[in-house]
Amino acid sequence: MLSSIQSHIPSWTVFFQAFIALVIPILIYRVYVRLDNLGEDKLSSSGSANIESSRDPLVADYDDNMQLIKSRIGANSDVVIREVTVGGVVKAALIYVKGMQEDHLLNMRIIQSLKEMDAQIPEQIMERFPGSSAHAVSSATEFSQGILIGFMALIIDGRKEGLLITPPQCPSREVSEPVSESLLRGSRIGFTEDLSINTALLRKQGLSEDLQIRSCLVGQTIQRELAIAYMDHIVNPDLLREVNDRVAQIKLDYIAESGYIEQFIEDNYLSPFQQVQNTERPDRVIAALLEGRVAILLDGTPFALIVPVTFSMLLQSPEDYFERWLPGTLLRMLRFGAAFISLMAPSLYISFISFHPGLIPTELALTIIETRQGVPFPALIEVLILEISIEILREAGIRLPKPIGPAMGIVGGLVIGEAAVQAGIVSPFLVIVVAATAISSFSIPVYSAGITLRILRFAAMLFAAILGMYGTILFFLLIVCHLSKLKSFGVPYISPFTPYRWSDWKDFFVRVPIFLMKKRPKLMKTMQSKRK
């Protein structure tokens, strides 16, 4: 009895392995916790505390006011100060930024009317100005900011306030087709850089009193307008509160693009998966709002953010709904397949070629052996060579001006591939695999999701190179585990896959006919469950 127990006590190497097995996860965990804590800080540490806008009211005296304004912004070469006299008596000045007030006719009329105005009725002066957005401000800070944003401003002697009369008419891009998400069928309108145009585009999607757009300013040094859009009576109030909280916590001196916001409000910054979706398409935003999601729009960028995001959204395209349900379903399943190929194909190739020759059909095995004769590298190196050159090629293709891009694709793809095979560096079979992988990753409708898969593909290749098929499975399980723990604004990332909610599955792998999709996604816990 005792001896049999003794014989079963593992040797010291096993104990050492057990020790390693204990230590490494703890190390990983500690590193993770540290990194995570770094992430916790991101919401509070950077930037100084909110500058309390010092109450520096405008005074009644014209010269004092002018002094104040000039000291604040007058040194700028693009600030134009034009002094006029109202009715020939009262001193006044029009201030604006060059390039923001291009309508010369309007300017002339304003000056004209100022000159002709009766100096005695300054109280009703506002009503006389054309344009709807004329308003008065009393704080000098606000006033000068208004000028810098692009308003044409007016100060009149004897008034304790400045007038912002015509809104900015700064040059903006025409509304055009969204470049990153082009469709064959569906509206060709994409967002532009102007927030007011973007919100207008949202409104133009259809009439609804429920569509709420709330805006606030973000950024500490340079402020920008940010709008949060949602559907009242549909969105879950908890979600809305959470979004508002997170946006309010952003502390950054300047927010250049909605990507900044994305990185601030996402749940887990260590995850390779994006937890916020970006889109250029108003129709996509509206569809998301109707599902109970919240959209964040930022001035100065055509990319709106949608939260929360689930994994399935990354593989959906508006076209799925515009086409009839059968093609829509087919295309969607195709995309799921493509995502799988683009993630796994190279690692499967490695595990088959270097680990499991017995699992390939005999005839295929013979063909591969024939084509791989003379390839000097192991499968991993071979795949890496080709994959990395494809990635470089792709990156280069984006930077190149449009007319050259396709030409480079041809040169890079065809010539290099063919030459590499001829030179015996890679096998033709691999070229097929890599090409299929690349093409598959193009078919993913959300560009940033495609990038995620590209990163993960390399990780998968490493796993496969160490443990073959077993490694690939471990990698797949790792991804699944990670996804099932990941949440985007409290919504589990892989829902609606699990827990099973059949009503949500109607719009997951398949896209059932629209008349069957009567309910809003349950996972969003919307206020109205029925689509009215």
Binding site: Q17, I20, A21, L22, E242, F489
Partner: protein, 376 residues
């Protein structure tokens, strides 16, 4: 209509479907690869499938009993209520045995997985290189709590079910009804004899006793549990029928991994994967991962609840323990011996214990209202 739940609240409750799949995954493990052999060895006639069926019915009974017992203590796991029923120290000892059992069964599953992998996929790779990443991955998942495990199970299970059924359907070309005949040629004797080895594959159903505490909707617990037990019974039955029908009792007895051998016995020419055993093994790896995670979770939950230890620390501490358990069997025979031992322990502890505990609970707290008494 109205929002019932907090949107961002911690999610440690699972839905009915998740509970069903969780239970299902706790029972579907390495058993499916060896069951046809172990049951044929003891039955020796083609009637093994009857044994599987009868064993399944027994398992259902036991599980329902455990469920009824656990439902008397809403929101409490077996680790929390046992002491209330049989006293603090006996309860403690009992729960420790339970934790030990879960750890051993987790180690067994990993070892079986490693043996299959080393034999068919990675000849020459040291065993620690196979088991340690697997254990780590499990720890990563288990830290996420029951919700994460249930989610992963729900992703993995449909895939493995599809592949399993597909493999079996493809093996229909080998299926001969004659291999399953005659039915009850030797009477009921062999069937009863085989019950012993079939009950073994249903070990794992004990997770019901912790599962019930985490149900979002305890009213549907019975439904969840019956589905969760029903699926593995169906799959085991299907497996035994297909394997015996496909390769005959004689071949099933001589093969170490009869289910894999069944799938290895045919080639689907002209298909990308001519060889389905590859798909089957790959998928079954994932299934075994879920299976092992269930036990890992239960043992760490048990320890942390018993001794009021932080959950994450327990998980880390259990990683080397599970690894050592994995390495204890020195060869295949010992591994299968360990499997049998687990089965017997399971019969001993979990057939008798719930009965005993239920009776005791009935005596102490009267019918039905046990928990309310407890609280007051």
């Amino acid at each position: 209509m109205a929002v019932s739940k907090s949107f961002l609240g911690p999610n440690d409750k699972i839905t009915t479907s998740q509970a069903a799949i969780f239970l299902n995954n706790a029972m579907l493990g390495a058993g499916i690869l060896t069951l046809p052999r172990s049951v044929s060895e003891s039955v020796k006639t083609p009637d093994s499938w009857i044994s599987v069926l009868v064993g399944g019915l027994i398992a259902i009974l036991v599980v329902v009993l455990m469920l009824k017992l656990s439902l008397r203590f809403p929101g409490k796991t077996v680790f929390q209520y046992t002491s209330a029923v049989i006293g603090r120290y006996p309860g403690m000892i009992w729960c420790l045995i339970l934790v030990f059992y879960y750890i051993v069964i987790a180690g067994f599953e990993i070892r079986a997985m490693a043996e299959v992998t080393m034999y068919y996929l990675l000849e020459g790779t040291p065993i620690w290189a196979i088991t340690i990443p697997f254990i780590w991955l499990g720890a990563y998942l288990v830290i996420g709590g029951i919700d994460a495990i249930a989610r992963v199970s729900q992703i993995v299970f449909p895939i493995s079910l599809c592949i399993l059924i597909l493999s079996y359907l493809l093996s229909l070309r080998l299926f001969e009804l004659d291999n399953l005949r005659p039915i009850l040629g030797d009477g009921l004797g062999p069937v009863i004899h085989g019950l012993k080895s079939t009950v073994l594959v249903y070990s794992g159903c004990e997770v019901v006793m912790t599962l019930t505490a985490q149900l979002e909707n305890p009213k549907q617990a019975l439904k969840a549990v019956l589905t969760g037990v029903g699926i593995p019974i169906g799959l085991y039955l299907f497996t035994v029928i297909m394997v015996i029908g496909g390769v005959s009792v004689d071949s099933a007895v001589t093969s170490t991994w009869p289910t894999i051998d069944l799938v290895r016995s045919f080639e689907v020419t002209g298909f990308l994967f001519e060889r389905f055993e590859f798909l089957l093994m790959v998928i079954w790896l994932m299934q075994m991962f879920c299976n092992y995670s269930c036990f890992f979770y239960n043992s760490s939950l048990g320890l942390s609840q018993l001794f009021k230890l932080p959950y994450k620390a327990v998980i880390f501490a259990l990683v080397p323990v599970i690894f050592l358990v994995t390495m204890i069997p020195q060869n295949m025979n010992e591994l299968f011996g360990l499997g049998d031992a687990i089965g017997y322990l399971s019969i001993l502890l979990f057939l008798l214990f719930p009965v005993f505990l239920s009776l005791l609970a009935l005596m102490r707290f009267g019918g039905g209202g046990g928990a309310r008494h407890e609280k007051s």
